[in-house]
């Protein structure tokens, strides 16, 4: 394995700097954003590197749990921020966060205990990267599906209410839009699985190969990850769309669009 030193990273940084200069010359107007993002990457990843190093050195369930909680809460905030017309107040945060908790944690723990069988099962070296990949992908599915659900509920409010007026139950009145939301949440991961290895070499596998792992071993891990991610995303999206559509109606099966934010 080729280890990177500071000079290697400095050369890569120089490339970004060059791009920023070029953008400045061409009045691209993104030089500042580019540099800020680059600095954030360096700082955030360095910090997480140090955190992981400490975490790996002190294997304790408490620290793993704390780290997982922070990751979950940040992912929950991200899901909320990506909604054009999400739920107001506590619903906006809890629907997405709870769905991700349910799916990501369940699938990660299942993989750790049943498939990987690490000893102890919460060994941070396996638990944290796995959970990170699960959350990162589930987050996408949940955010897209929720956004689609709330947006369509708003756009199609006349149709939904017309169906209620004809005496349909709330779940029937929204069933079609629920399926649409579910499908749009799942499409990215389905596409990723279909294109894996042909159009793109997945990042995790590439990383393992660069770090010196035999390609076939890396591929096996990548397949495992893909299957886990699609299961996690599917379950998370299912939960988010299920809970979210329930929140669109009150106890008297009225469509409650005042629970949504203005765009």
């Amino acid at each position: 394995m080729i280890t990177l030193d500071t000079v290697d990273l400095a050369i890569a940084a120089a490339l970004v700097l060059l791009l920023a200069l070029l953008s400045l010359r061409l009045h691209g107007g993104i030089a500042r954003q580019l540099l800020v993002a680059a600095v954030r990457t360096a700082v955030q990843l360095t910090l997480i590197g140090l955190v992981l190093k400490a975490l790996f050195a002190h294997v304790h369930p408490g620290w793993v749990a704390l780290m997982s909680l922070v990751m979950l809460l940040v992912a929950g905030r991200e899901v909320m921020a990506r909604q054009e017309r999400g739920f107001r107040g506590w619903r906006g945060y809890t629907v997405g966060t709870f769905s991700m908790f349910l799916s990501s944690f369940a699938v990660t723990i299942f993989a750790l205990v049943v498939i990987l069988g690490s000893e102890p099962w919460y060994t941070p070296r396996y638990a944290i990267p796995l959970l990170g990949m699960m959350l990162g992908n589930t987050m996408n599915g949940v955010a897209i599906a929720m956004d689609r659900l709330t947006q369509t509920a708003w756009d199609q409010r006349h149709v939904i209410e017309a169906r209620l007026m004809l005496g349909e139950r709330w779940d029937r009145a929204i069933a079609h839009y629920r399926r649409q939301a579910l499908r749009s949440g799942m499409i990215p991961i389905i596409n990723a699985m279909a294109a894996a290895g042909i159009v793109s070499l997945p990042g995790m596998m590439t990383g393992q190969i660069l770090a010196g792992a035999p390609p076939v071993e890396a591929v096996k891990y990548q397949i495992l990850i893909m299957f886990l991610i699609s299961t996690g995303t599917g379950l998370g999206t299912l939960a988010a769309v299920g809970i979210g559509s329930r929140h669109l109606f009150d106890g008297r099966q009225r469509l409650c669009l005042d629970r949504l934010r203005a765009p």
Partner: protein, 207 residues
């Protein structure tokens, strides 16, 4: 001896911009509501169909609305909004199979059911929406300007069909209209919603 309870009783129902509404309606009655635009007529009908949150009590044949599942309530207290909505491509897909629809009574052709909804005129849609609602056999009909897009001939057909439904079902009808002559034709009672008050007109003026 037992007396039949009123079909619909409304007690202190809150509607935005309107003082709490009290109303009692028997089967075979047709209450027309008139009043300036924005006075809350549409919101009153929505509250009666339990589509908006409200305070107060609504009873259908003496049974409080909260004891009836909301979807069942809306089957029995059917609201026809001014603009109809359609969500399937083919018109006929919005009707349950095997329901006998009195299409020709409203001057509509059987063929319309095979047409795409987008090909229908607004008048055809309005009449079909009425038939779609009547297929539920509601006991209370809430009609929000049901003849707004219709020519006089078709408006008369709609009036006759509703009149017949009201007597035979028997049903109570609340009919929001802007047309004074129509009110004179169809109403058995008449109320005006104005400045936040729903006040019923004496019967002499209704006829």
């Amino acid at each position: 001896m037992s007396k039949t309870p009123p079909l619909l009783q409304i007690k202190a129902l809150t509607v935005p911009h309107v003082e709490p509404v009290n109303l009692t309606l028997n089967a075979r009655e047709c209450l027309c509501i008139t009043g300036p635009s924005g006075s809350g007529k549409t919101l009153l009908l929505r509250a009666l169909a339990d589509l908006d949150p409200h305070d107060g009590e609504m009873l259908l044949a003496d049974i409080p609305s909260r004891q009836i599942a909301a979807d069942q309530w809306r089957r029995q207290v059917g609201l026809l909004p001014p603009e109809s909505s359609w969500w399937k491509v083919r018109t006929g897909a919005h009707f349950r199979h095997g329901t006998a629809l009195p299409l020709e009574r409203l001057g509509l052709k059987e063929l319309l059911l095979d047409a795409h909804v987008s090909r229908l005129s607004s008048g055809e849609r309005q009449r079909l929406a009425l038939l779609r609602l009547l297929a539920n056999r509601p006991r209370v009909l809430l009609l929000d300007e049901p003849t707004a897009n219709l020519d006089p001939e078709n408006a008369q057909r709609v009036e006759e069909l509703i009149d017949e439904y009201r007597r035979n079902r028997p049903a109570a009808v609340i009919w929001v209209s802007h047309d004074r002559e129509q009110v004179a034709r169809v109403a058995t009672r008449h109320a005006v919603l104005e400045d936040g008050h729903l006040h019923e007109q004496p019967r002499a003026l209704t006829a």
